[in-house]
């Protein structure tokens, strides 16, 4: 997050559970947290709800926050977990009615706008069938093109693990796209 770090005094007040300090941090970081979440879930309306959920978890965990560390990094880590939980929940819902739709779609390799739209829809559908943690890594690395280190910090894993997830996401997505008849 690009926002400047907060003075330790404010962070200490937050860690002690002072609501005014929490409000100050909320007002300063809500935009950054929202932007991070919307990058992952791609839905502005849902992202607002998840921003609230993120700060709710932040508030509940105030006593565990170390004021000498970065609030922004901590908030981003929690926001990533919240977005991940959301994607896990959504995956179950979409998976239940996916099966019927997939097989009926015709293969496409033309520049026709309708066909292009069809390819986009199938690509998104294939992507949403991936495990949530692969979706997060792939969205941030391949679509948002965020640095691996930044993604690793947000997910709480090593950069090697991020690269592995992106690799697995690509491999799985390629396979699913081929099953759906999408070719270059």
């Amino acid at each position: 997050m690009e926002v400047l770090e907060q003075p330790t005094e404010l962070l200490e007040q937050f860690a002690h559970g002072e609501l005014d300090a929490f409000e100050t941090l909320f007002r300063q970081f809500q935009g950054e947290v929202y932007r991070w979440i919307v990058r992952i879930v791609r839905d502005p309306g849902v992202s607002e709800d998840l921003t609230i959920e993120t700060f709710w978890r932040i508030h509940r965990a105030h006593a565990r926050f170390d004021p000498t560390r970065s609030f922004a990094a901590w908030a981003r880590r929690i926001a990533t977990n919240v977005a991940l939980d959301y994607l896990k929940g959504r995956q179950v819902k979409t998976a239940s009615h996916e099966t019927v739709l997939v097989a009926d779609l015709p293969a496409a390799a033309s520049p026709n706008p309708a066909v292009q739209r069809d390819i986009r829809e199938r690509t998104e559908r294939a992507f949403r069938q991936l495990p949530a943690k692969l979706q997060v890594a792939a969205t941030l690395a391949l679509v948002e093109e965020r640095p691996y280190q930044e993604i690793a910090d947000a997910l709480g894993i090593s950069t090697g693990a991020v690269k592995l997830r992106v690799f697995r996401a690509l491999r799985l997505l390629r396979k699913k796209l081929q099953q759906l008849g999408v070719e270059p």
């Binding site: 791609r42 709710w56 690509t123």
Partner: protein, 72 residues
Amino acid sequence: MNELNDKKVQELLKQALGPTNSELERDLWPRMLQRLNERPAAVPWFDWVLLALLALWFFFSPAGIPLLLYHL
């Protein structure tokens, strides 16, 4: 069937998911405050006591389990 290369898959993904230059358009603090003021769905203390008594009963007298299930 030819394999899609990684760059092509990435390109397809970018097109499918679209850009997200969405900025937060309103202050979410009022909603946050509302969430903070919601009373947590707390379990009354006597429910915990009842549960503890039930657990103790089952521990010392396991024969009571089918008896309870019968009466449920």
